[in-house]
């Protein structure tokens, strides 16, 4: 802290820091005031702003009290500093949440998605609040915003009612905001919420076994590189006391690193599975289109498995959901009556591409984690299939008629919002809209372009706009039905 002539006197540094913090809260108030003037696509953003506003007022009040408390001056330095700095940590969370809300005001193009996505989660979670916000990078993201802001709730002594329950922030790539079909990927992001709720890690995790021999090989090779001689890495665990301390630590660290990778990868794979259960084949199509175009098939990191492995598992899961009586390993074209000609052909092409090479990993830890998953993935798929509740499942077999109807509408330049049923028209399910959109996208762009005098790109853009419109109108129809 600089003590210039205009700076604080050394004896009053605590008061000065407290005043600075109070000023920060005033700046934040101004920010919230500006944010409140913006337009938001749903109710959750203003509600969250009210929470941020009240948390900020409470912080300011506590700071004022602290500053005027005579005991504050007598506190030991370290304790006084801790008292003040805990507010800084809270502001990090508050500012982050405020930025997400401000971003949501610009998401007019995906505004229609928030309500139906929330509707998808409510049967499983009971409540759900989704905040959709744009990301500068080409990626989708998920954040349990409620969990993040809980620290503010607890620290400020607020009741749990102060914060909307089941509050999730889902990011989408701002570049592809209007590419509605791609937003099926959000099924994966919602999967993260459900993964935690279903405690899937407890049910899928026990299936996975880390290969002891591979760990030993890795420890041995690191040992050779570091210590320059061969350790008896294959020795049984009880004899490891004879190994140098470094070697034992290395073994534990290797286990820890692989387990950490596995923990993240299993969550990603299960979230993929949930996405597939939410939106059917459309999810796999958008996953292929997005992942293969963003990072390539064999890119992986500590928290994301390679796309090639994810696709293999998704293909297996999708096969489990295809009509019985067909060959389980037959080509997708044998499911043409369910999938449609163009989707089946696309899946055939991509499955052979995915299977054309072994899954590639970027380091030995990833390789051990990956091989542990690949060894059991058929059992993983079967268990995942069982775990996900019936209410969550979108069974394409029961919606073939709807999808065909909606696809026909799209090819006639009509948004896919309703299907004939019973006495009249009924709103289409979100998943059916996505699936019909993908069918039309893969098989009808040329026709749309030709009939309307558009370029292929213009036809694709229009198709995505109609899908978004279909989602918006179906939601209005559903809500209209609910209030009648």
């Amino acid at each position: 802290m600089a003590t210039t002539s205009s700076g604080p006197a050394p004896e009053s540094w605590r008061e000065w820091l407290a005043s600075e913090q109070i000023e920060r809260s005033l700046i934040f108030s101004e920010r919230i005031r500006r944010a409140k003037r913006m337009q938001y696509p749903s109710e959750i953003e203003p509600e969250l702003l009210r929470f941020l506003d009240s948390a900020n007022s409470l912080i300011r009040q506590q700071l004022e009290e602290l500053k005027s408390d005579p005991g504050f001056a007598d506190l030991p330095d370290r304790e006084a500093e801790t008292q003040l700095l805990r507010f800084s940590i809270l502001y990090t969370h508050l500012c982050f949440a405020a930025a997400l809300v401000e971003g949501a005001s610009q998401t007019q193009a995906v505004a229609e998605l928030a309500a139906p996505l929330k509707r998808t989660l409510v049967p499983v979670l009971g409540t759900a609040n989704l905040l959709l916000h744009p990301l500068p990078e080409i990626n989708y993201s998920f954040l349990d915003l409620g969990e993040l802001l809980n620290s503010v709730v607890n620290e400020m002594g607020l009741t749990q009612d102060a914060l909307p329950r089941d509050l999730y922030a889902v990011g989408f790539p701002s570049l592809q905001e209007e590419w509605s079909l791609m937003h099926c990927i959000i099924g994966h992001e919602l999967g993260h919420a459900l993964y935690k709720r279903f405690r899937m890690v407890d049910k899928i995790g026990p299936l996975i076994r880390i290969d002891e021999a591979k760990i030993n090989d890795l420890v041995g090779s690191i040992h050779r590189d570091v210590w320059g001689y061969e350790a008896d890495a294959h020795a049984p665990v009880e004899s490891q006391a004879q190994l140098p301390l470094g070697s034992v630590q290395l073994r534990a660290a290797t286990y820890k690193a692989v387990s950490r990778v596995l923990e993240y990868w299993i969550e990603e794979i299960c979230s993929d599975g949930i996405g597939l259960h939410l939106f059917g084949p459309a999810f796999l199509l958008s996953a292929i289109s997005f992942l293969a175009n963003t990072r390539g098939l064999d890119y992986c990191s500590d928290d994301h498995p390679p796309a090639r492995m994810r696709f293999r598992i998704l293909f297996s899961l999708l096969r489990l959901r295809m009509p019985v009586g067909q060959s389980k390993n037959g080509p997708w074209s044998s499911y043409q009556p369910v999938l449609g000609q163009h989707v089946a052909a696309f899946l055939d092409t991509w499955e052979s591409l995915v299977n054309a090479a072994d899954v590639g990993f970027s380091n030995p830890y990833h390789a051990i984690a990956g091989s542990a998953i690949l060894a059991v993935y058929p059992r993983m798929c079967a268990r995942l299939q069982k775990l996900i509740s019936q209410s969550l499942q979108y069974d394409i077999r029961q919606h073939v008629g709807d999808i065909e109807h909606l696809e026909r509408d799209i090819l006639l330049s009509i948004p896919p919002n309703e299907v004939r049923g019973g006495d009249g028209m009924r709103p289409a399910a979100l998943a059916s809209i996505f699936n019909a959109g993908w069918r039309a996208y893969l098989g009808g762009v040329q026709r749309l372009a030709k009939e309307n005098g558009w370029s292929a790109w213009e036809a694709k853009a229009k198709l995505n706009q109609w899908v978004a419109k279909g989602i918006e109108l179906a939601e209005v129809q559903t809500r209209w039905g609910e209030v009648q």
Binding site: S413, P427, A468
Partner: protein, 221 residues
């Protein structure tokens, strides 16, 4: 062109047997009311949609329709608002904004239509459409040119029936002619059209000789 009464229109909307003759108006949230099941009305009612486009006055000095990319430039100077059904948009006196119908409309080859403000709204000062004709084979939401001509602000609620569509039978469709590829085709939100300001026409008008420069002399003594 004969005007089509609502019972005929209802039949055309419900009949999907011949795609070329199918009239699409979707969604119709309240069919008896919007299609006038109980009366021989000459129109059907449409609702206000959720998207509004508002010009940023502070950034827009003027509109020069002769500029090459005038439409794109003008569109980029507009803010789009999404107001969900259940919320409102305030239209102030003399304020002009673009809106949209909630319904997506697709006309068959033998129908044209006219957009007219519902009289009860018109009497409160709301003008909804100034370019009101819709051609056969049009498809898209209908862009509304909303203006409050009264002295008092009006709350506009998406989902409310604010306009009516009158249908006319159109004859003489020639399938050999190319489809209408206007920018409005297939629109899903309020849009700025360009078809009336195409580049060739702009160039031709710019090249018009300026006769006022020549001395005005009479050839006769």
């Amino acid at each position: 062109m004969s005007i089509q009464l609502s019972p005929l229109i209802k039949k055309r909307i419900l009949d999907e047997s011949i795609p070329e003759r199918r009239l699409v108006v979707t969604p119709i949230l309240d069919p008896p009311r919007q299609l006038h099941f109980e009366e021989n009305s000459a129109s059907i009612d449409l609702r206000l949609g959720s998207r509004f486009a508002v010009a940023r006055r502070g950034k827009t000095a003027y509109i020069d329709t002769n500029k090459a990319d005038f439409a794109g430039e003008f569109a980029s100077l507009q803010d789009e608002y999404y107001v969900p059904v259940g919320k409102y948009f305030v239209l102030h006196p003399n304020h002009f904004v673009l809106g949209e119908t909630l319904e997506y409309v697709r006309l068959p080859v033998d129908l044209a239509a006219y957009v007219v403000t519902r009289s009860s709204w018109g009497r409160h000062g709301l003008a909804i459409a100034t370019a009101i004709g819709i051609h056969p084979l049009f498809c898209g939401v209908i862009t509304l040119e909303l203006r409050n001509m009264a002295d008092i602000p009006i709350y506009l609620y998406p989902g409310k029936c604010v306009l009516q569509l009158f249908f006319h039978l159109a004859e003489g469709f020639d399938p050999s002619l190319s489809p209408d590829s206007s920018a409005y085709r297939g629109a899903t939100g309020p849009g700025i059209g360009t078809s009336a300001f195409d580049a060739d026409e702009v160039e031709r008008i710019k090249r018009f000789p300026n006769y006022a420069r020549y001395p005005l002399r009479s050839s006769h003594p």
